[in-house]
Symmetry: C2
């Protein structure tokens, strides 16, 4: 195949949904994606590329059997927050190589099953257990950024305010309520300078997409590019904020493959697990120069109605961040936007969207993995 | 690429190694595999396809950074006991499609970190929590087999006796001591008719292989075929023992792709997590007719020195079954055998080997996934 397309997408609601369970969430997402793709019979699927971070072994098989999706190869990926973007990237390559004609991609996470509050670092995660869990890592990103370029608290707050405003237009969002900059900055300090309203919440959801190599009935969105790398070693000698170099490298791969640059993209869904993450992501993607991310968000460039909206879905801060389901949630938003189906949060005239998912997990390397996908065009 | 080859393999020791940890085990396995493949610089690797079942998110990245393996795409798969066979199968396809020139495959599991005794069923595993964990599932396999064909305890015991005898020749084996049929049958009952010495133990290990698309320095072993499917729904209307139909379907795929049949294979590594599993696997692979697996093992056909040795490494019962590391452990044995490097347990004149890994996890489907790989020829 010379190209791969997203034929259809679907998601459950996002939020703390204890007791709902992976099978029901998967059923909601997959049913919607199959309907959206016009797949009337699950036997049209050649394979399933699934992803979960904390889901039990066999989570995908257990849920999919209830939909009659059995017998085909079912792969399950883990790549931290980039888990289901990784599944999509791999599914795309499987389609491009001609191995499969139609692949179901699936992301699922039921975080409330495992955590009542923040993610507890694993026994083997010595950094995390010493306090350097992801809020701490991103706080260090902010500190480094402040040292390099200066960082005003109002710029961080502007990310939360913008994404909550976007999320208020998204009926599936976990945190649909708008917030003010004052509320963001006055909320409880989690890891200086990141306050509670600058940190994503734990969440339960499933997300799905049907990928194929042939144009279908006309609502397909072409995957113009996708790139994936893991991070390089990152230590006290690294001058850039954690994650920046990995994101920039993967974004460079994606722009090269797509044959376009960030200026050609109408909207972005990026990894705003913490406010500072969106600021560095916009720079790594090339929407702004290094150090220009604060002015970018403060200027309204990245708000709905601005030149290049970032996280029109509400992003991880507002829509929610169910780890293994997040990448395909971003892809779903991109597909809806490019099709003109995003309702009250539609980016006018959207033709090209880009998705960036950063998989963290350790501070010793510059990210476990990062995926950038370019859709449409 | 028209073919994919295993350039090199490596493993840690197998067994309960609490406190050693994934990074040290990975270092042992990967260092050996890279040396074996003649990879002098880790920058020759284009990607890593890793697998773990219970490992924490980022287990592969955390361990690989210590070896300087960073920056390339690192994928982590979960497919129950077939986890690292699945990684190998996918790596092979990535090489065949021309996407990567050289891929490191990795399996790692540190079960003693999570379990002091048997695997505790996950909260969402309602069958397992009700008692239908894998020993129970395989006990039902034995009951069904008994109903269909008759099943003498001495045939089950013969599998353990044979595989322990093989494992006694394997310096990396977890349980190297030989056992008698009387000892096997007199050991504590776990799930009728499966006694303790018919059940694999928990284990820690890492395993690795380097896969590529070009013949190297002459010790390469060709991957003649590999096949992967997930199970179909399996319930009270199914007439075959659990897992049989999936194994037979995947084996059929593999024989078709390889253009040979089981009669052309010199040795097998199969999924003997429980003794009955080896008996049904030998039938599903076509080494014996359905119902002929007991006579096959009792006749000595599958012992070292017999016509077609099964599990010359000692298998899961003797070498050990560190879930996510098992598939590549089987592949490593197959490679050593086909190269004539298996020492005291060498199968004379071995040219072709086949590996079968069955990934269980739920009784509601006929296996989460099964992989069959044909090597050599």
């Amino acid at each position: 195949m010379s190209a791969a397309f997203v034929h259809g997408v679907g998601t459950s609601r996002f939020g703390r949904q204890p007791g709902v369970g992976a099978p029901a969430l998967v059923q909601q997402a997959v049913t919607e994606a199959l309907d959206d793709a016009g797949v009337g019979d699950v036997r049209e699927l050649d394979a399933v590329f699934a992803g979960t971070v904390f889901g039990a072994p066999g989570t995908a098989q257990r849920a999919l059997q209830l939909l009659g999706i059995t017998g085909v190869p079912i792969l399950t990926f883990e790549n931290a927050c980039a888990t289901s973007s990784t599944a999509l990237h791999e599914a795309r390559h499987a389609v491009l190589s001609g191995r499969f004609r139609r692949v179901l991609c699936l992301g699922v996470e039921t975080m409330t099953l495992h955590f009542s509050g923040p993610i507890t670092p694993e026994e083997t995660d010595v950094e995390g257990r010493a306090g350097l869990a992801l809020p701490g890592v991103y706080a260090m990103v902010a500190s480094r950024y402040e040292h390099l370029y200066g960082l005003e608290p109002k710029a961080l707050a502007a990310v939360s305010v913008k994404n909550r405003r976007h999320g208020a237009l998204n009926p599936r969002a976990q945190h649909g309520a708008e917030v003010t900059a004052e509320e963001v900055l006055a909320s409880r300090m989690v890891a200086d300078p990141l306050t509670l309203l600058q940190c994503c919440d734990i969440s339960d959801a499933a997300t799905a997409a049907v990928i194929g190599g042939e144009r279908g009935v006309g609502r397909d969105v072409r995957i113009a590019a996708s790139a994936l790398r893991s991070g390089e070693l990152w230590d006290h000698r690294s001058t850039q904020p954690w994650g920046y170099e990995l994101m920039a490298r993967v974004a460079g791969d994606a722009w090269q493959e797509a044959g376009i640059g960030p200026e050609d993209v109408d909207l972005f869904e990026v990894h705003d697990a913490f406010t500072i993450g969106e600021i560095t992501a916009t720079e790594a993607l090339g929407i702004a120069e290094p150090g220009g991310g604060c002015d970018l968000v403060l200027s309204g460039h990245t708000a709905l109605g601005g030149r290049q909206p970032v996280n029109p879905s509400g992003g991880l801060l507002s829509r929610g961040h169910p780890l293994g389901a997040t990448g395909l949630a971003q892809v779903a938003e991109a597909v809806w936007q490019v099709r003109g189906e995003a309702g009250a949060r539609q980016v006018e005239g959207a033709r090209v969207a880009a998705v960036e998912t950063m998989g963290g997990g350790t501070a010793g390397i510059d990210g476990n993995g990062c995926v950038v996908v370019v859709l449409g065009g």
